[in-house]
């Protein structure tokens, strides 16, 4: 990966999204202060970062709405700054906050955007009907958008971003407002688009959803992409596992005896160390969080616990890998 602003086209050029040394300030605020990013065709890339880390600004640059102060950007093989129309013709963008035309029906909104992308009228009708079916809005297609719920509007926004069959899809918080069923649908849709070769970049806070969706992850903090080294370190850091057993008292007793670091998983369980006399651990099914280095460590814990006669019922990572990595980021929130 090359670094620094104004460099030539990277040697590993691809038709997805390539960003090198991107800078963008708003007055004294450095919204983007050195972003390097690669989102490749056929893969779903997550854009993860705390509030104010520059995710939306980055997506605005990629969508061709903002001129970067410095840096090199390619979207779908074109520079959105100098070759805007060509890049935009290949880009579908769904902003985090967008409005709808209340008096228009969902079908009219999509037909308008098909016309705005200069799709032939004949094909547009069929394309719109197909998209409405894809986002499960066929029944509401001819009702005004004002009757749509927030999640339905979100799905309409997604269909709108897809109307011209873009090669590159930029989604800003697409899962917000969606019910669990719609989230699963969104995941299936994005995976199938990626399978057809689309480059998908998703920014989201719903990290558990991203876990099952994304191939790659880019972490953004303070306007910078966190370096690959930090990411590896974050991923290899000790993780919390949720361990459950038939008897909580037996489990905690055994964990303490073998010197494992564990934390209570619920309010009614006392911490192993603390102030005041320790309350008795209830002798009933329950779970605790245990710090385990890696999967091998988890396997060893299962083997040792079973050998020691602890009746384990389950052991699983607490929170997704992305969430763990996210929380491990040592950057301050803005």
């Amino acid at each position: 990966m090359t670094d620094g602003a104004g460099q030539d086209v990277p040697t590993d050029a691809h038709d997805g999204i390539a960003v090198r040394g991107l800078h963008r300030s708003f007055g004294a605020v450095h919204a983007l202060a050195g972003v390097d990013l690669d989102a490749r065709p056929g893969r779903v890339t997550a854009l993860i970062g705390p509030n104010g880390s520059g995710k939306t600004t980055l997506l605005l640059v990629l969508a061709g709405l903002l001129v970067p102060d410095a840096g090199h950007v390619r979207v779908g093989g074109f520079d959105p700054g100098t070759d805007g129309a060509r890049a935009r013709a290949r880009t579908g963008w769904m902003p985090d906050a967008f409005g709808t035309w209340d008096s228009l029906t969902a079908r009219e909104v999509l037909l308008t955007f098909a016309a705005a992308y200069r799709l032939p009228r004949a094909g547009a009708e069929a394309r719109v009907a197909e998209l409405l079916k894809t986002v499960h809005l066929s029944e509401l297609a001819d009702r005004p958008a004002s009757v749509l719920s927030r999640g339905q509007k979100q799905r309409l926004g997604l269909a709108r971003a897809l109307v011209h069959s873009p090669d590159v899809l930029l989604l800003d918080e697409p899962a917000s407002g969606l019910d669990p069923r719609s989230r699963v649908d969104l995941r299936v849709l994005l995976r199938s688009l990626a399978a057809r070769g689309t480059t998908v970049l998703v920014s989201s806070h719903v990290l558990s959803e991203l876990d099952e969706l994304v191939d790659d992850a880019v972490f953004l903090s303070g306007g910078r992409t966190v370096t690959a080294g930090t990411l590896v370190a974050a991923e290899s850091a000790r993780r919390s596992w949720r361990v459950r057993a038939l008897s909580l008292a037996t489990l905690t007793g055994w964990l303490t005896s073998v010197g494992a670091v564990w934390h209570p998983d619920a309010d009614d369980i006392p911490a192993p160390t603390g102030f005041g006399p320790p309350r008795p651990v209830p002798d009933r099914p329950g779970g605790v969080l245990v710090d385990i280095a890696d999967e091998e460590g988890a396997a060893r814990l299962v083997r040792d616990a079973v050998t020691a006669g602890v009746a384990l019922t389950s052991i699983a990572p607490a929170g997704g890998a992305l969430e763990q990595a996210y929380l491990a980021l040592d950057e301050e929130r803005r």
């Binding site: 691809h14 065709p41 779908g76 805007g84 035309w101 008096s103 069929a126 069959s165 070769g197």
Partner: protein, 387 residues
């Protein structure tokens, strides 16, 4: 780039979206693009019930004013000489007042139709998603202008019955109605375009509406006031050649032997300030309306005609020679021959200049709006988000 595509009936995914043959630039203009935006705007606007209410209120107000003008001019002119003269007096007055009232209301309504168009969309989050499409900024602006103008024209159409009724009062050529409607329509287009420019320039919708109203008020109310204030500053004491009675002494019986004298007196050079009136929408409409009756040019009850004669005379400026031999004129009657040349006031139309000035302001509004809608943007207005 693309991998295997499972093709449905329509191209999907990374099949390489069919690249349009014409990629838009800032000033690209296609009817397809303009119509797409205008349809979107009009659909959104027409389906709200407020719209119908506004048209009904307009219809009632214009109707009420027409009725009032009709009744008041009848009582005012009752008892005047013969029926024909009465008709000639009353018809143009009713027509002129109704047209002016429609223009007045139109200038009030037109800014609301366009002055929140762009910053309102930005606040609602519907502008950026339109900007990233393959519509050019020029197409978006012209589409919005077309939609707001069409809405303004709807108000004008609702007024047509009353203008026709005013025409029925007599004395006004039918052509006057079409000319007035045409000039009204163009003036409203200019106001819509000015509003559009401000809505692109100012972040808040209230701000752009106020600025548009200030421009409209400057054109229609402030310009005559400024003209009046500059009247004194353009007045100077100058020497004028006067055909007058020598020494001002006249015995009162016989025709005096008038002579040329040089007199010093105040002269107002309105030829330097007439354009302040020329850009006024009301003056433009009045000047454009055809003469009510060519055979009877001295109809005093015609507000449009009075303004027309007035502004054209003011444009000509002061006369260089003046005939003050009134007593000779009154005694000798038609035998009196004045040596002062008949003043040949330039009667060419004022309205094309005024209309052009208004349309130029509108064009400036469109230009500003297009410049502000170009993407990618370099600067952002304070406190605004792009999307």
């Amino acid at each position: 780039m693309s991998t295997v595509i499972d093709e449905g009936a329509v191209p999907t995914g990374a099949s390489g979206a069919p690249t349009p043959t014409t990629l838009p630039r800032t000033w690209t203009l296609t009817w397809h693009g303009v119509r797409t935006v205008a349809e979107l705007e009009l659909r959104q606007r027409v389906r709200s019930t407020r719209w119908i209410v506004a048209l009904v209120v307009w219809f009632v107000v214009v109707g009420a004013i027409t009725g009032l003008v009709w009744l008041s001019t009848r009582s005012l002119l009752t008892g005047a000489a013969g029926d024909t003269a009465n008709r000639l007096l009353r018809g143009p007055m009713v027509f002129g007042l109704v047209v002016f009232f429609v223009l007045f209301l139109g200038l009030l309504v037109a800014p609301t139709l366009s002055a929140t168009s762009i910053n309102g969309d930005r606040a609602a989050g519907t502008l950026a998603i339109l900007q990233v499409t393959l519509l050019s900024p020029f197409e978006i602006v012209l589409g919005k202008l077309l939609a707001s103008w069409a809405a303004a024209l709807a108000f004008l159409v609702v007024s047509v019955p009353f203008i026709a009724i005013a025409l029925g009062a007599g004395g006004t050529p039918v052509l006057a109605m079409f000319v007035c409607l045409g000039v009204l329509a163009l003036l409203l287009a200019a106001v819509c375009a000015i509003g559009l420019g401000f809505s692109a320039l100012v972040a808040r919708t209230s701000g752009s509406a106020v600025l548009t109203y200030i421009v409209v008020a400057s054109l229609s109310a402030l310009s005559p006031i400024v003209f009046g204030l500059t009247y004194l500053t353009t007045t100077h004491n100058e020497t004028v050649r006067v055909w007058t009675i020598p020494g001002g002494a006249w015995n009162g019986d016989t025709a005096p032997d008038c002579v040329w004298e040089n007199a010093v007196g105040p002269v107002t050079h309105t030829e330097r300030t007439w354009w302040l009136l020329g850009i006024n929408p009301f003056v433009i409409v009045a000047d454009a309306a055809p003469q009510p009756d060519a055979r009877n040019p001295r109809i005093t009850g015609d507000p449009l005609g009075s303004i027309r004669t007035g502004v054209r005379t003011l444009r000509a400026g002061p006369a260089t020679t003046v005939d003050e031999c009134w007593s000779g004129q009154s005694i000798q009657g038609s035998h009196y021959v004045s040596p002062v040349a008949e003043r040949n006031v330039d009667t060419s139309a004022v309205w094309p200049w005024g209309l052009a000035a208004n349309l130029l302001l509108g064009a400036a509004g469109v230009w500003v709006a297009v410049r502000r809608l170009r993407i990618p943007q370099r600067t952002l207005a304070r406190g605004t988000r792009v999307a």
